[in-house]
């Protein structure tokens, strides 16, 4: 019977998820990240915390858009007074701007590193520290072994890690729970007024463990993420160079 077959597959899938460390959240304690339709793409329909997310960004513009997305997520994560660590090689994140994305910059600790190796060492140490909410690292490259180490560190402490990979020449497989790509899109004028509209991004989930990769267009407006109707948006063809 198809109904029983479907049930069987569903229950088997749940078992697999549990074996892989995904616990369905108990009813009522579900924490919404404010990502709207994106959250449905993850297993159990919940944004996975306590794992490592990887954001691929080829240009500074993309890296900035990715930072915007992360900061928007941090505003939810840091609500109960938690602290975040932001590890980077460039150290050009501007704390005064983070308040526009709802994050409290004075509870963010910036660590400037000189090499990828240092960044990964600091990140691994930080991910083991249960007192933190999230750890963000900007690195050039990340290989499977390094990502596996980070994933193991995170399993003990349930800190959420974000990795911004600044060069995406070749993307090998990693042990991260999700791989994102965030690209800036031209904004839409608000009510036909001149000037810039709300920051608008094309958010793409390239890979989700046990989820459904897809892409969305989102805006950051009035202190939260807002999905944009896809029909309105014309994604421009990017010119090479």
């Amino acid at each position: 019977m198809p109904a029983t077959k479907k049930e069987l597959i569903d229950s088997l899938q749940k078992d697999i998820l549990q074996l892989e460390g995904y616990k369905p959240p108990p009813a009522g304690t579900q924490q919404l990240m404010g990502l709207g339709p994106i959250e449905a793409a993850f297993p159990n329909g919940v944004f996975p915390l306590g794992t490592v997310h990887e954001l691929v960004c080829g240009t500074t513009e993309e890296a900035t858009a990715s930072s915007g997305l992360i900061t928007g997520l941090l505003s939810v994560l840091m609500q109960n007074g938690g602290v975040c660590l932001w590890i980077s090689l460039t150290g050009n994140l501007f704390p005064s701007a983070l308040v526009n994305f709802g994050a409290e910059a004075d509870r963010l600790i910036f660590i400037r590193v000189m090499k990828d190796q240092e960044a990964l060492w600091v990140m691994e140490e930080a991910l083991k520290c249960p007192g933190l909410v999230a750890v963000i690292a900007e690195v050039k490259e990340l290989d499977f072994k390094q990502s596996r180490r980070l994933q193991l560190a995170v399993e003990q402490s349930h800190v959420t890690g974000f990795i911004l990979r600044n060069t995406s020449k070749k993307i090998g497989s990693t042990a991260c729970a999700a791989r994102w790509q965030v690209k800036p899109l031209p904004s839409e004028a608000v009510d036909g007024l001149p000037g810039l509209g709300f920051p608008r991004w094309q958010i793409e989930l390239l890979r989700v463990r046990n989820g459904h990769p897809s892409h969305w267009v989102m805006e950051w407006a009035a202190g939260q993420f807002r999905p944009v109707d896809k029909k309105q948006v014309l994604i421009p063809e990017r010119k090479a160079g």
């Binding site: 930072s67 900061t71 602290v83 994140l93 704390p95 660590i111 007192g131 933190l132 899109l185 031209p186």
Partner: protein, 499 residues
């Protein structure tokens, strides 16, 4: 506890050093000379010269006359202080308190140390033999007082160790010069027929004071232990310090780890009892080859957790080079602060800046990559973008003002604005096209300008007119023109990226 002192006398300190430096002089008679009242006087000799009848205080010409093949060398002024300091630092492995006794000796406060070498005899023997191995002609003595130890080391003939309380008998048979007296007083004593200390030791003080003065009485009392004498240690003692002596010199990382573990355990239990925590600590490792290597740690909050200290030092073990082996570890807490135990319990496990786990994490990171690379920012009341934040002093530092959110600010701000080439339709219009690092951006939408004036009381220069622009691909940038438009466009810069 009864104080015990050891006096070390280097008979030919500077000549020994010279012979070590120039081994070819070893068997020759040497004198070191320095001018005094327009005459060259002998300041130091060696054994070979003394055998031929040369003594300190002779005129150099006389010394040359009575010896053959005499090497006359200029006395290196101030050398003895330098040498004694070096030897004193070496002696730190035997006792923490070592003082220089110019011109040719060291005084060690050895109270509570000799039992580690079995007995005072073994202790004295070890030190003297090691110093002789180094090439210095050494004599040493141990007594209850600095004065008695000094006297026995230089003039004693029976035993170098004076039992506790026996200093009066110990110095009784010595000549008056053993009391560290001025030459004039010694002359006077000699004229009056006092050939040994015992001949005037029992005389009434009033009689002695009238003839020889207060200084003489003080020296006598100091030698007998009736007056205090203070030492000036070369390394001021640190109140919170622990030492660990190794039976055999250690070389392995594991051994260093064990040493750190032991030292921090005993230091932390002491700090625990006194309600204090370490902010800054130094681990000093004294090596067999006479060198000292050290590793320092700092913490963001006072800590007395053994595991935390071990982790912090663990990160630095690879910087400690054991070479042939380390024979003494010294852990010094150079800076301690009071910690509130109740507060510590209250914040444990609570997420936030006061979390102990966070402070410990930052300590580890600081130990690995350096504390200057960890920054936390607080808002500052400036419009000028580079000054709109200030680094927080500590984790407890809070800001009196809130972050400003009424103006758009880029999420990434370049440390140094990068020059761009710009084409604008009208002088005060936002740019239509800009070229940054060879890439051409066609501006679709723009906002601005927002003029930010330079704070003239802080620095000089042009104001900036900021524009927020979006190119056709959706990249959002923060551009500015420095100063007014003056006919040929003004200087344009890219200063940041919006999300």
């Amino acid at each position: 506890m009864q104080k015990r002192y050891m006096s070390i006398w280097f008979r030919h300190l500077v000549t020994d050093w010279l012979m070590l430096r120039q081994p070819e002089l070893k068997d020759l008679p040497i004198v070191l000379v320095a001018p005094e009242h327009n005459r060259m006087m002998v300041k130091a000799t060696n054994v070979a010269a003394e055998a031929q009848g040369v003594s300190v205080g002779m005129a150099a010409a006389d010394a040359k006359a009575i010896t053959s093949n005499l090497q006359v060398i200029d006395y290196p002024l101030g050398k003895e202080n330098q040498l004694l300091r070096r030897l004193g630092l070496w002696c730190i492995r035997y006792t923490p308190i070592v003082a220089i006794d110019l011109p040719d000796g060291l005084i060690l406060d050895i109270s509570g140390c000799p039992h580690l070498w079995g007995s005072e005899k073994g202790y004295l023997k070890t030190i003297v033999l090691k110093l002789r191995d180094m090439g210095y002609d050494t004599r040493a003595a141990i007594a209850d007082t600095v004065g008695a130890a000094w006297a026995i080391a230089r003039y004693g003939k029976v035993t170098p160790i004076i039992e506790s309380g026996g200093q009066a008998e110990g110095i009784a048979n010595l000549i008056p010069a053993a009391l560290r007296l001025e030459p004039e007083i010694l002359d006077k004593l000699y004229k009056l027929g006092f050939r040994s200390v015992k001949s005037f030791m029992a005389m009434p003080r009033t009689v002695l004071r009238r003839r020889f003065g207060e200084g003489f009485l003080l020296r006598l009392a100091q030698a007998l232990g009736k007056a205090d004498e203070h030492l000036k240690p070369i390394i001021p003692p640190v109140p919170y310090a622990e030492r660990l002596l190794c039976l055999e010199p250690v070389r392995t990382d594991t051994a260093i780890e064990i040493a750190i573990q032991k030292l921090s355990a005993s230091l932390c239990s002491r700090l625990q009892a006194e309600g204090k925590g370490i902010r800054k600590a130094v681990l000093k490792c004294f090596r067999v080859d006479g060198k000292m290597v050290q590793a320092a740690i700092t913490t963001t909050r006072g800590s007395r957790s053994v595991s935390h200290l071990c982790k912090l030092f663990g990160l630095q073990i690879d910087k400690i080079e054991p070479a042939l082996g380390i024979e003494l570890f010294l852990l010094e807490a150079q800076k301690v602060e009071d910690i509130d135990t109740i507060q510590e319990k209250l914040w444990a496990g609570h997420p936030g800046l006061q979390d102990t786990a966070l402070a410990e994490l930052l300590d580890r990171i600081a130990g690995k990559i350096g504390p200057e690379r960890i920054k936390r920012y607080l808002p500052a009341e400036h419009y000028w973008p580079e000054r709109s934040m200030r680094p927080a002093v500590s984790l407890k530092d809070v800001s009196a003002t809130a972050w400003r959110s009424n103006r758009p600010r880029p999420i990434r701000l370049l440390a140094k604005p990068e020059p761009i080439e710009v084409m604008a339709l009208l002088p005060d219009y936002p740019p239509k096209v800009f070229i940054h690092k060879g890439k051409r951006h066609v501006v679709g939408k723009a906002d601005g300008p927002e003029r930010i004036e330079r704070e003239w009381w802080l620095d000089r220069g042009e104001h900036r007119d900021y524009y927020m622009v979006e190119d056709e691909d959706g990249g959002r940038y923060w551009l500015f023109r420095s100063g007014h438009y003056d006919g040929h466009g003004g200087d344009w810069y890219l200063h940041g990226y919006f999300a």
